[in-house]
Amino acid sequence: MGDRVTREPRFKTGDYVQRINQPEVSGVVREIRWDGQVESWNYLIQFGAQLRAVPEEALETVTIVQSPWESFTQGSLSGKAHFIFTLTYERLKSPPARIAHSFATARTQFYPYQFKPLLKFLDNPGKSVLIADDVGLGKTIEAAYILRELDAHQAIERVLIVVPARLRSKWEKELRQRFDEQFKIVKGSDLIEQANRVAKGRELEEFRWIVSYESIRSEGVRAALDEALVPIDVLIVDEAHRLRNPETLQHKVGVVLTRTANAIVFLTATPVQNKLEDIWNLLRLLSPDEFSEWALFQEQVKGNRLILAAQAALANHPPDYSAATTSVESFIRNYAPERAGRRFLATILKRLSDAPSDRRECLELQADISRLSPTSHIISRTRKVEALPNRPKRDAHWQRVRLTEEERAIYDSVEDICRRRWPGTDASWGFQMSLMMAYRMTASCIPAAVQYFSDKLKETEQAEISISEEERSGWQEAEEMTAWTGPARHALEQIVESAYRVPEHDSKLEELTHAFKAIWEDDERNKSPRRKIIVFSFFRRTLEYLARALSGRAIPNCMIHGGVPVDVREREIDDFLEPAGVSVLLTSEVGGEGIDLQAASVLFNYDLPWNPMVVEQRIGRIDRIGQQARRLVILNFVVEDSIEERVLARLLTKIEIFKESIGEPDPILGEEIERLAGRALQGDLSREELDSIVEQQGDALAHRVVEAKKMLTRVDGLLAADQALIDEINAIIGERQLPSEYELILFLNSFLANRYPGTQLPPRVLKEVVTVNLGSNLGFALENSAPELGHDAAIFGRRISTGPIDLTLSREAGYHHPRAERVHLQHPLTRFAVSEITKERSRKNSGFALSLSTKRLPVGRYGFLVSLIHVRTQRSLTKLVALFADWDNHRVWAEPNEATALLIEMLERAEDLRIVPQLSDTVAIKDCLVAALDEVKRDWEKREAKLEQARLEQQSVSRLAILDFRVKRIRERLNKLESSGANEFAIRMTNAQLSKAEQEKEVALTTSKDQKWGVIEHEEIAVGFVEVIGASPSVS
């Protein structure tokens, strides 16, 4: 029975075959054997790196398809695994999103608003943006997204980030840990060196540098840069408000830097402090052409008010079309030069007069009106109330510490010594600093301070430490900077003489442990997990003392300060962030800088910062995006009847810094508070005098804060509604324009399975960090691909060649484990897979047969088409579009949102059919879907043409308005010169200026009329049959 061979095999060794039911899988016949059981032939086929046995019935000769339609009409259909693979590959190859390269590549949580500055930046042909978000919304991340996106589209060779000195290491660390970007912290001298290279005509090196304001605000740096004009591809300036005063040297350096930078990003939470000129000064650095004159800017502000008024009228319920029309007409009359193209403006007026009842049309109209704004295109601002509507409330308390007699004696003696007159020391910054620190240490922690004083006295006297301005403004832990030399050493001797013994009782520590218990008892009562508590101190010695003391009281704790090695710091933070880990973190400013500690909702200030900026930075560690708690508890420890209580506590309370964020405080606030506290230490004021000064100055400072807040709201007057941008970002997620992490892992594993046996990413990498051995073969291949894929491919290749690596696809896990490799849509491994598949891919089968359980379509059979539509205009855009057609009546289900939702369901839930029905009528379905796609394209063309036209027209209108203004000003000047009988040369020169300006205006006008909008193309990436099952009865 059956053991005799009854027929010849259909294929022979070496033949190329494909699976009938999986046409995308093809391989070579390696071995053939007769199977007597079923009287047929079995074949051993090599599919990529795998050998599989397949019966003859499941094989056919390889067929080359020219288009997805060919597979479809021939009935050569693949299943869901290949469907996901194909769509993932195509979306990785031509990402249908403008933010594809920055999206999902960072180790950060995803917040849509953080992509808004990037979109504004991309839309602005001037390639510059001012990011004016509130504090704590992640401006660093927003700037890094811009950098990442630019990097993907053009060669970025020189990047300069200018930051305050105290933020240098924070930026370096954030870029390294969150974006895998390696930046180097340099000094002004390095910039001078680069300038010298340029001046000498030598080749410029690539650089990615972080430099501090303090280090570049010198005439030497300014002059060198001014002379050599070092080209910079991307310039990022943090706390850019420091550039707003044109009188300062740092503004002048800013002028030189912005002149040579191709792309500029400014970041500040306080673009205006006292007057609107503040922001104008920043804007004219960003775009000198647009914001050349103050008078023009005022006009632009007025124009924008009309835009805002029109938008506000439309936002009413019901929309007030008449008011909106009045505002838009007024805008056109006053701010849109008559001869400029006004087609777009005319369409807006027409739509307003139609008064659409459809909400969506009204929203589109609002978005189109916002495109007319003369200022909004360059400013991106997100406020905390918008981004974090449920942000936590700050609940601040003061914990007064009553000292024992012994402690009081020490405290008083230190205060007394600090208040004494020390002849010849008035001008010594080091001396003043030493005494102030001695006082502050005593106020912070008496036992630690006493120990420190006696230790310091035992050390031999050293030369005074030279501290640069840069170091002074950085968060150095103060005791490390204090030089006990000269008169300061005499003071120290006296301090040690009076406070020679560590007191037995520590009242402040008692209060601290009591506060811990109170918090945790509260948690127990509420049956909630123990809250994590951060204890801040300005002093390393205090922290070390507390760590020992708390451990002795069985309160486990972690500690981070500048003296703790970086790897230990990371371990300590991990321990603290672990939900079941240690509940207390002791940290200084240096230790906690740049670390997000949203896992904690309780903060203790064990000592009080003298600068509100430090207070803001401390609270900012927990009061930021990602904080889950509804209430933040802040407890400030202050010694009863101390300078801190009498001066600092009162001043800080007056400016209400503990109640809510005051943004990035005006430096004057800090200076003033420090001055007052210092004054109190000088001892030349009576108690009453001091109280009175503190009261008055406190009120003045509070007023200043209120005024600054009011001023900030004026920035909103420069903006227009940005909902369209947020919608675009949400659509990228909601419409699955970019592959999900699940789709990415399927794609990568499919690629690896075919080429690198033994290398797979286990599904657990979607959620956690997993140690994976990807093998040396893949490593070498990645290293070899470096010329094509970039240096990061070589680095990753080397990493995996040397052994197993820690890897994850999760943003969250990647953030908590910065040393683990995070694979994302633009990771070298993903790019390598896409590039290799593209090289070998003639056209794989992309016809599909699937089954889908959905409520969106009635039960039945459907044909579908998935396409990428490319819009090539000033800003290129690609979009994923899906269409469905009823197999029996050829009705097309093309409502865009429904079709997209169906496509997402197919990616998530489609199943393979058990039996594929005989498909007839494929040609009719094809014709019907192709016709529908053409219609979608036409709609898109209309829409995109309109948008592009709007963009171009807005640019023309704004440019012409500027030129009009300039012509008007020159003409006025000319009239003045002529009437005042000025000399002929001056009149001739002004005349020449006038004719040049008029000429420029003519050119701009002609160009505005000749502008073409662009082209639209499409690419069919998948077609197929889907059987819909399980629809709800409610679907008609």
Partner: protein
């Protein structure tokens, strides 16, 4: 004529229960392996019940008044053929009049093939006209490497196949007279001779079948592996190597050793039940073992001798492997970091599975436990997901559902000769060799 769609049945004919997985080679979207579910369970009892008139197969009923139950027919066949009563636990049971143990085994396998066929028909909505069915049965590695036992166990599915092809499907009841009649019609002697290269089309070792997924899994690289399969009554171990073709494709497996010990999850449950003084059926503990072990030090203590017994199977396998490799220092070195698969019911109990991380040779470091991800194409016939707890029990049937060629080269321990130190390469001539003369 359009080619038929091919389905292959993998039949794990177990001592007390059997499992069936069928592989649909023509499934749209790619091969699909489907676990056959009967009355909600993937376990199909292997015992045969004899009433006055009928033979009952796959019956869940443990005892009936007028029923004679034949448990462990498979092991009785082995005991009879090899004349080694150790294969059968307890005194051999006399067969009913007119039936030999191999007859009952062949009839059981016919029933299992029929069950598979029925499941395929249900899965494909009755379109059996499109389908062509084949099958492979699993045999313990110890039987497979024994010429006589292999020959006997090859005869069982071949005869069952003749019955299936000749007589059609067998329901769960068969009249005794009809049974005797069909056995007479399809005697063992009528089974055609099987060429050596075709043997694996019909029967394959359970060890090899269990390791089919690791062999195919893209996550597993060529290398040296050990497997411990902790079943209900028996624990098996094997040491094997997966070969690769210059790192491009995996080409074969060689089992250096296979060992068994008659101790498994039943003994584990018994030990726990006794230590915890739980009366009744100790099998009721199945699935609760780890939680009891976590809580009770007494239970953990009681488990030690059982765990040692299971570990002994592992050690025996290593000794056999070591015998083969000891001549090659490099080979012995390579087997030190052997990677380990623990499968079967015991793999779900970390307290037991972790014990196998200690290399039987006592060398450091601890062995790496390989965690296999679930095969993507494996589903249950009732559309439910194959759970993590079910997976260890269906891996053998899943591996058997592949046609014989699927592991191009699969050597059993008797086919792997002892290894020798590679002959020393000729010393390269150096400067002195040339110029000293």
């Amino acid at each position: 004529m359009s080619p038929k769609r091919r389905v292959h049945l993998g039949i794990d004919y177990g001592t007390s229960s059997s499992k069936i997985v069928f592989r649909d080679y023509g499934a749209p979207g790619g091969e699909t392996a489907v676990v056959v579910v009967r009355d909600g369970s993937f376990r199909i009892p292997s015992r045969v019940c004899l009433t006055a008139s009928d033979l009952l197969f796959g019956d869940e009923q443990r005892t009936t008044e007028n029923c004679d139950i034949y448990e462990s027919v498979k092991m009785q066949v082995a005991a009879e053929v090899s004349n080694n009563p150790r294969h059968y636990y307890g005194p051999l049971k006399a067969m009913p009049s007119g039936f030999a143990s191999v007859d009952l085994a062949a009839l059981t396998v016919w029933f299992l093939i029929s069950e598979g066929h029925r499941a395929v028909a249900a899965y494909l909505k009755g379109r059996m006209d499109l389908i062509s069915v084949g099958m492979t049965m699993g045999v313990p590695m110890a039987f497979f490497k024994d010429r006589q036992l292999r020959s006997t166990f090859l005869g069982i599915p071949r005869r069952a196949w003749m019955l299936y092809r000749g007589e059609g499907l067998l329901g769960s009841a068969l009249l005794r007279d009809k049974a005797l009649w069909v056995l007479d019609k399809y005697p063992l002697a009528a089974v055609p001779e099987t060429r050596e290269e075709e043997v694996r089309d019909w029967v394959r070792s359970e060890g090899e079948a269990a390791m089919w997924w690791p062999f195919q899994s893209p996550a597993v690289a060529p290398g040296r592996y050990a497997k411990v399969d902790i079943g209900a009554g028996t624990s098996h171990s094997s040491f094997f190597q997966i070969f690769g073709n210059m790192g491009i494709a995996k080409t074969g497996m060689a089992f250096l050793s296979a060992a068994s010990e008659s101790v498994g999850m039943d003994a584990v449950d018994r030990a726990i039940a006794e230590s915890e003084e739980l009366g009744g059926d100790c099998l009721a503990l199945r699935g609760l073992e780890q939680s009891i072990l976590q809580k009770s030090a007494k239970a953990r203590g009681a488990l030690i001798p059982v765990r040692d017994g299971i570990y002994h199977a592992f050690r025996k396998g290593w000794i056999e492997t070591h015998q083969k490799i000891k001549q090659s220092v490099a080979e012995v070195q390579s087997w030190r970091d052997v990677k380990l698969f623990v499968i079967g019911g015991g793999s779900l109990i970390p307290t037991i599975a972790e014990a196998f991380k200690v290399h039987p040779a006592g060398v450091n470091p601890m062995l790496q436990l390989v965690v296999l991800e679930q095969p993507p194409e494996l589903v249950r016939a009732d559309a439910a997901k194959v759970s993590k707890d079910e997976l260890p029990f269906v891996t053998v049937a899943y591996g058997l559902s592949n046609i014989g060629l699927s592991i191009p080269e699969a050597l059993t321990p008797d086919q792997v000769p002892p290894m020798r130190e590679p002959t020393q390469r000729r010393k390269r001539l150096d400067h002195e060799d040339i110029y000293a003369k």
